[in-house]
């Protein structure tokens, strides 16, 4: 008779709540250790920052250049992904055409290939001697090794994040609300603007946040396709990599900035999700 209250006190079966099905003890230990292993490097990073030098390290001209460039390019890339990714997600979920499932897998390609391969592919397409770049060259347009190339590399690798998020949102919601709008006499455009789009907002926000985070962290495709010129193509991750050789403390300080941004992103994207599932 005394066992029951003691268990409740240990936080097992909570009175007034459903009984949880917990993982076996052994698995829980492995899981908790695994979680700790993920966090250790970040703890070490924070511990490695010399707080007294932090303001000085983050305000050098090269650091400010990199930070400004990163924010500008990542925001632009995110905007481009929004404009391209939304119609693409609609095509992939709401349009029946042969090879649709193949197309849906191909969209994931930039996410799956190593970013450096993405950079090589972009160079082959838009580089000076590239498939399209050659013709652009004739028109006097050069993209490789410019800030535009940074934006292209970032948009290229992060577009799948937005498309996948939107596909998920579109598929889980189904089409019944849109059909209802059409049955009430709304045109396809009005239905899209007043029903589809507003219903898509939560998925869109989560997708955009992840897209921005991926664009901000882009390294491999950027350095391959756009190079590393201060103020033009040297984004924050590239700056971190460069500083690592010359001033490790500066590299750690700049890394901290990226970690803080990532934490904000996770809070915005997943905090919302938890609330909507509550």
């Amino acid at each position: 008779m005394t066992a029951r209250p003691r268990r409740a006190a240990r936080g097992r079966e909570v009175r007034g709540r459903e009984v949880r099905v917990r993982p076996p003890a052994g698995l829980a230990v492995v899981g908790i250790l695994g979680g700790a292993a993920l966090l250790v490097p970040f703890v070490a990073l924070v511990a490695g920052v010399d707080l007294t030098r932090l303001p000085e390290l983050l305000t050098t001209p090269s650091a400010l250049d990199a930070l400004g460039l990163s924010l500008r390019t990542a925001l632009t890339a995110t905007a481009i992904c929004l404009v391209i990714g939304t119609p693409l997600a609609l095509v992939l979920t709401r349009l029946d055409f042969p090879g649709r499932s193949l197309a849906r897998s191909l969209v994931l390609l930039p996410l799956v290939v190593p970013p450096v391969v993405g950079g090589i592919a972009l160079t082959e397409a838009f580089g000076r001697r590239g498939l399209i770049g050659e013709h652009l060259q004739l028109l006097g347009i050069e993209v490789a090794f410019t800030s535009a190339a940074v934006v292209m590399a970032q948009a290229f690798v992060s577009l799948p994040f937005l498309v996948v998020a939107l596909e998920g949102a579109l598929l889980t919601r189904g089409e019944a609300h849109e059909r209802t709008a059409l049955s009430l006499g709304a045109s396809p455009l009005r239905t899209f603007l007043t029903v589809t789009l507003p219903l898509l907002v939560p998925g869109l926000v989560a997708g955009l946040v992840l897209t921005f985070a991926r664009a901000l962290g882009e390294f491999g495709a950027t350095i391959t396709f756009a190079g590393s010129l201060q103020g033009t193509t040297r984004t924050l991750p590239l700056q971190v990599y460069l500083e690592r050789e010359t001033d490790p403390e500066a590299a750690v300080a700049l890394s901290l900035v990226l970690v803080v941004v990532a934490l904000v992103v996770i809070t915005v994207a997943y905090g919302r999700r938890d609330r909507s599932h509550a």
């Binding site: 019944a176 049955s183 045109s187 396809p188």
Partner: protein, 209 residues
């Protein structure tokens, strides 16, 4: 007032149903699950394209072998057991959504008409609520107002009371009986009480097996 004459054939669902509804009358479609009641309504609404068949509403062809009128041009109101209110809009905005088709022009007129309709279905006090803040019965009342406010020539009701709490069913059935009077309507239902209260005629689809 308009009559409906239709035949819906969907072989992969084993559906071949034909029926007619006289102008201003309510036809109850009954029959076992899977007999094609809902499939027939979806086809007439324009939500499902049948393999063959036809639907004529008065002198307009909704579909036949050669024609397929999209849902937005059919002027057919469709209400399912899920009210399918737009969750981001208030009750008033939900009802106002279909008023353009009914020829109500001007923001103010639409607002007033939407409020009138909400009053008629007994939820006038909920005009500024969103669907998430309504009970199932209130949401279905709002959906009834929305579908009728859009001025449909034909009303399709697919088990409109099936998802409601038992104690509100009689009130909403009464409301339907009142607002459907004189409208050409097809009602899919499992319940004899609905047939008795709402229908002028009953068509029982036989089991295929």
């Amino acid at each position: 007032m308009t009559s409906l004459d239709c035949r819906v054939v969907v072989p992969e669902r084993g559906v071949d149903v034909s029926f007619t509804v006289a102008p201003g009358q309510t036809l109850a479609l009954t029959g076992p699950n899977g007999s094609g009641k809902s499939t027939a309504l979806s086809a007439v609404a324009g939500w499902l394209r049948p393999e063959s068949g036809h639907a004529r509403l008065g002198d307009r062809t909704l579909f036949d072998e050669h024609t397929w009128l999209p849902a937005r041009r059919r002027n057919v109101g469709y209400l399912t057991q899920d009210p399918l209110l737009f969750p981001h809009l208030t009750a008033e905005a939900n009802v106002a959504f279909g008023l353009a088709r009914a020829g109500v022009v001007g923001r103010r007129e639409r607002r007033e008409t939407a409020r009138d309709w909400l009053g008629r279905v007994g939820v006038g006090h909920l005009a500024s609520r969103r669907p998430g803040e309504m009970s199932g019965g209130q949401a279905q009342r709002t959906a009834i107002a929305r579908v009728l406010a859009s001025g449909p020539e034909l009303v399709l009701l697919d088990e409109p009371l099936a998802a409601l709490d038992a104690q509100v069913v009689p009130q909403i059935r009464e409301l339907l009986a009142e607002v459907l009077t004189g409208r050409t309507t097809v009602l899919v239902t499992h319940h004899e009480a609905d047939v008795v209260a709402l229908a002028d005629a009953e068509f029982q689809i036989k089991s295929r097996i």
